[in-house]
């Protein structure tokens, strides 16, 4: 699928793995920590105007609401650049959301699009059957100047998903299982393609979660087949024409993996690597200090509903600080209307405005020396959420919520809900 999208955007009939191409882009994006560097580089390119002000999206989401004076300056710089270049799609406090939750919600990406973003989790939009990949600030500057980006065409890994997942198993468990199987460089420079009739049991929110973490296996991008679920999602959010690309019958893959959803257990990544996985049956009982439910990986409505289902009418353990972060204002509002926020507050958790915050140890929940957190985020390298001697365990919203109640890493299946 990826090769077809790249060929189309490079004006070629077909491309081969390893080939270097220049592709036209449908969307380019940056955030408050990557855009400032890109803005400086853009000024040095000698190009006066951005290539297309409608195809650029800038979202201040990492250190907002402004974490400190330096962060305030970075946001100011991004805001002024958007204003000076008439970039309408600049999202600030009050309107913004976490970029990879906000952008699909706003209908900015369609199947068949080619998208780059100065953020590694830009691969999220592959859930919509688009080619979407993370790049750095200079690539963003070059793209804003030219509307193009150079790529080495990736080879692909195929994941054939079958079966039906058990009650508390969602996209997060599936992708953690995959990363644990192939390793943090198992998909290095490759495209991860998801197909199979098991996709019937994987919601759009779960697909975003899975595509989001393609980068944690080193993947260039993750991409899903386009089906009825995709079309319904797109239809509700945009009405421009789009192209659905399908892999050929005889498409060549470097490896094919069979994923039987019925055998996937709730899964946890232990410190300090996303591929250091265990099933919940193997890690029960590790005491924790903090729980984070949110992020571009699991900050969507389905994630909040699952957490609320488990927290409803209960109180979190006394020794745990629980922070819940809806991914966008719209999700926050829906959660409010559905009574989820009431459930969260009554359970003794802190509910935050959308922000990346604690996921990268920025603010809104940084860890002290010796502290342990379980989080629905995407990385747990040393010092990820704060002190180098703190620890982060990665998990699904269900496992995180169950752990919040127990005060230690816990299995949602054993809660008796």
């Amino acid at each position: 699928m990826t090769q077809k999208i790249l060929a189309a955007h490079a004006g070629k009939d077909s491309v081969k793995a390893g080939q270097l191409i220049q592709a036209d882009l449908d969307l380019v994006l940056g955030n408050d920590i990557t855009a400032p560097m890109a803005i400086n580089e853009f000024a040095r390119t000698g190009v006066d105007k951005v290539f297309d002000r409608r195809k650029i999206v800038l979202v201040s989401d990492h250190f907002v609401p402004n974490r400190d004076i330096e962060a305030a300056d970075q946001c100011k710089m991004t805001r002024e650049f958007a204003r000076d270049n008439e970039i309408e799609n600049y999202f600030d406090v009050g309107e913004m959301g976490i970029e990879h939750v906000l952008i699909p919600e706003k209908g900015f990406v369609a199947p068949g699009d080619a998208v780059i973003g100065a953020d590694s989790h830009t691969c999220t939009y592959g859930a919509l059957g688009a080619f979407s990949t993370g790049i750095g600030s200079t690539d963003l500057a070059a793209a804003m100047a030219t509307g193009k980006c150079w790529f080495k065409v990736p080879s692909a890994l195929k994941f054939v998903v079958t079966g039906k997942p058990t009650r508390y198993v969602c996209g997060k468990d599936v992708i953690l299982h995959i990363i644990g199987t192939i390793g943090t460089d198992g998909a290095r420079y490759k495209s991860m393609e998801f197909t199979g009739n098991g996709l019937n049991y994987i919601s759009m929110d779960s697909r975003f979660t899975m595509a989001n973490m393609a980068i944690e296996a080193g993947g260039k991008n993750g991409i899903f087949d386009v089906d009825e679920k995709t079309r319904e999602y797109i239809k509700a959010r945009m009405n421009r024409p789009y192209t659905v690309y399908e892999a050929d019958e005889n498409a060549v893959y470097e490896n094919v993996y069979e994923i039987d959803l019925s055998t996937i257990r709730p899964t946890v990544s232990l410190p300090h690597s996303p591929d250091n996985i265990r099933t919940i049956d193997e890690v029960d009982g590790i005491p924790i200090d903090q729980v984070v439910i949110g992020s571009c990986t699991n900050g969507r409505l389905e994630d909040l509903r699952m957490a609320a289902q488990l927290l409803n009418g209960r109180k979190v353990a006394k020794n745990v600080r629980v922070i819940i972060i809806p991914g966008t204002q719209s999700i926050y509002l829906h959660a409010l209307e559905e009574g989820l926020i009431k459930t969260f507050i009554e359970a003794g958790t802190a509910v935050s405005t959308p922000t990346c915050g604690p996921c990268l140890g920025g603010h809104m929940g940084v860890l002290a020396r010796g502290e342990k957190a379980i989080a629905t985020t995407n990385r747990n390298f040393v010092g990820r959420m704060g002190h180098p001697e703190s620890e982060v365990y990665l998990a699904s919203p269900a496992v995180a919520a169950a752990s919040a109640l127990a005060g230690k890493i816990a299995n949602p299946e054993e809660l008796g809900v």
Binding site: R67, G136, L360, V366
Partner: protein, 167 residues
């Protein structure tokens, strides 16, 4: 162009959170970023190195975030180049784009030791361990990427192209 320096070794999967922890990403200033280079794994690193020294690492160097601040910190603190068994993809392209020389060579990464003096020839990819007298050769860059590196990074490359078209 030749680079010569003393080697500082690291292992596999050196991620961007240890190269430049996120709390320092509230600036794009290369000088400020340089002060915190490798702080997540070796807090005294910037005091130990001298201008021109070389990082040698295992597989998947630079994995994790897309933060360009990572190769910028490495370049600015005085490291002349990075040799690794393999690089994570975003770090690889960021390094090329900002003009930080990188060399992919499994044999060199496996054999060169911490503290060795090493010389690297950028155009040929020849790597010489002056301490052990061993010689290695890195994967050459494709021509297009070589052009970007020769220009000193992607921004310069674009600026040169824009200037050429305007002339």
């Amino acid at each position: 162009m030749k680079y010569k320096g003393t080697v500082f070794r690291f292992g596999d999967n050196i991620d961007t959170d240890v190269i430049i922890p996120a709390r320092y990403l509230n600036t794009s200033d290369p000088e400020k970023l340089a002060k915190h280079c490798m702080e997540g794994i070796d807090p005294g690193f910037t005091n130990k190195i001298k201008q021109g020294d070389i990082i040698v690492a295992g597989t998947n160097f630079g994995c994790g975030s897309s933060r360009e601040h990572a190769p910028v910190a490495i370049r600015e603190c005085g490291i002349s180049c990075v040799i690794a068994s393999s690089f994570a993809r975003i770090f690889y392209r960021n390094s090329i784009n900002i003009g930080l020389p990188i060399f992919e060579c499994e044999e060199a990464a496996r054999n060169i030791k911490h503290g060795d003096d090493v010389e690297v020839n950028f155009s040929s990819g020849a790597i010489h361990d002056l301490t052990t007298k061993q010689a290695f050769r890195a994967q050459p860059f494709p021509e297009f990427i070589q052009e970007i590196m020769d220009a000193g990074g992607l921004t310069n490359f674009i600026r040169n192209t824009v200037a050429k078209n305007a002339a």
